[in-house]
């Protein structure tokens, strides 16, 4: 097993397709699934958080765990109700750090209006874990509006990204590798439930799908959507919102922001006639004030994701095959 098997790209999808899905007989296409309990239908999601360092500009493993879980429910069309929390702690973790993480979890869950309803704590010997790992399960209630699914994508749909891309991955990289950047890049880690809920309610069936662009970045989301819908996702390079700090770091380290992780940014596919309405909703929330139309859904071409660059030629966008490594060539 390589690190790349967990990094949201081609190898991870292969792992799912060839091992996890056939052995467990499950589907692995959406961030949350529906479970029927009696007459009720609930949305369930689960996630693990293993970020190093635990604290980084713009967030920490605690707030990240709450937002990440809430966001997975929100983009899947559900309003979050509650979460569970499982902590795996490496012996020697200072109580002071532990308390700070827990306080951050409390604050974030209050902000997202979810309650932590159950939890578990395990301590493992030094070296068996890296300081602190968090696993969550999130439960949500599906909104009355039409169900979202990447299978509903249609030719001509507009692709929107809710804010500048690549901020979280760059912030964590800079903190972990002690790159000494000024200003230190900030993670975009944020609660997306309010904006997702508003967009869904306002647009109804005109909103096809949403997905938060975490590991593997925007590129990974579009590849997953393409393989689920059988369509080609076309991007326009000039429309991609990239903050100047992210841009500077990406140029310096030879990284492409399309592949860098986000934790408070999502991609949405919208029926074209509803685009003005969608942009108005998105821009009314601070978290998505800088949202931008980045492309269109096209009928299937030989490449699942393409990008229009400088001279107007279309080029394939590769599926991420592991976390991007800083390079000098």
């Amino acid at each position: 097993m390589l690190l790349a098997h967990g990094e949201g790209g081609r190898l991870m999808r292969q792992l799912l397709r060839e091992r996890i899905v056939p052995i467990l007989g499950i589907s692995a296409e959406e961030d949350a699934v529906s479970v029927e309990i009696g007459a009720n239908e609930l949305a369930i999601t689960t996630d693990s958080f293993v970020v190093s360092p635990l604290f980084f500009p713009g967030g920490n493993i605690g707030s990240l765990a709450v937002y990440g879980t809430v966001n997975d429910l929100s983009v899947a069309g559900a309003d979050p109700i509650c979460i569970t929390l499982s902590l795996i702690i490496e012996e020697g973790l200072p109580f002071e750090l532990f308390d700070r993480v827990l306080k951050s979890i409390a604050e974030a869950s209050q902000e997202c209006q979810v309650s932590v309803v159950a939890g578990d704590t395990k301590v493992v010997p030094r070296g068996a874990a890296d300081k602190l790992f968090i696993t969550t399960t999130g439960v949500g209630r599906y909104r009355a509006a039409a169900r979202l699914s990447c299978h509903k994508l249609q030719t001509g749909d507009a692709l929107i990204v809710s804010g500048p891309i690549g901020q979280h991955g760059i912030a964590v990289l800079a903190a972990r590798e002690k790159l000494n950047l000024h200003p230190a890049p900030h993670s975009d880690s944020a609660n997306l439930s309010l904006v997702c809920s508003a967009l869904h309610r306002e647009l109804g069936t005109h909103l096809r799908a949403m997905r938060d662009a975490t590991r593997g970045g925007v590129s990974a989301v579009l590849h997953e959507w393409s393989s689920a819908s059988g369509m080609t996702m076309k991007l326009d390079e000039h429309q991609l919102p990239v903050g100047s700090t992210t841009r500077g770091v990406c140029e310096l380290l030879g990284l492409d922001p399309l592949y860098v992780a986000n934790e408070g940014t999502f991609v949405a596919a919208v029926e074209p006639s509803a685009l003005p309405q969608a942009m108005a909703v998105l821009r009314s929330f601070p978290v998505s004030a800088k949202s931008q139309v980045i492309g269109t859904v096209l009928t299937k071409m030989s490449s699942p994701v393409v990008i229009e660059r400088l001279l107007g030629s279309l080029q394939p966008v590769d599926e991420p095959s592991g976390a991007p490594l800083p390079r000098i060539c």
Partner: protein, 86 residues
């Protein structure tokens, strides 16, 4: 192996000939780079940075030259067009 990125010298940190360092700004972000190969750089100058080391100064005049040449080509074209020769 040549990823070289232009950045602006923001401030000098160390003037030692061997350990020379300066803060260099790349778009919205600055980081410390080694300056032993371009000790003559002044604050506000642009340098190319490769693998954390500034490898040359950028010459502003030379950078403008290509645009002047392109402009000249365009003017030439317009003149040909207005003379009905294009």
């Amino acid at each position: 192996m040549c990823l070289g990125i232009p950045g602006r010298v923001q401030s000098w940190l160390d003037r030692d000939p061997l350990f020379a360092r300066a803060n260099i700004e790349f778009d919205g972000v600055a980081c410390q780079c080694h300056m032993a190969c371009v000790p003559e750089a002044k604050v506000g100058d642009y340098v190319i940075v490769h693998a954390g080391v500034a490898i040359c100064l950028i010459d502003e005049m030379e950078a403008r030259r290509i645009f002047a040449e392109l402009e000249r080509l365009d003017l030439l074209d317009e003149r040909l067009e207005s003379d009905g020769l294009a």
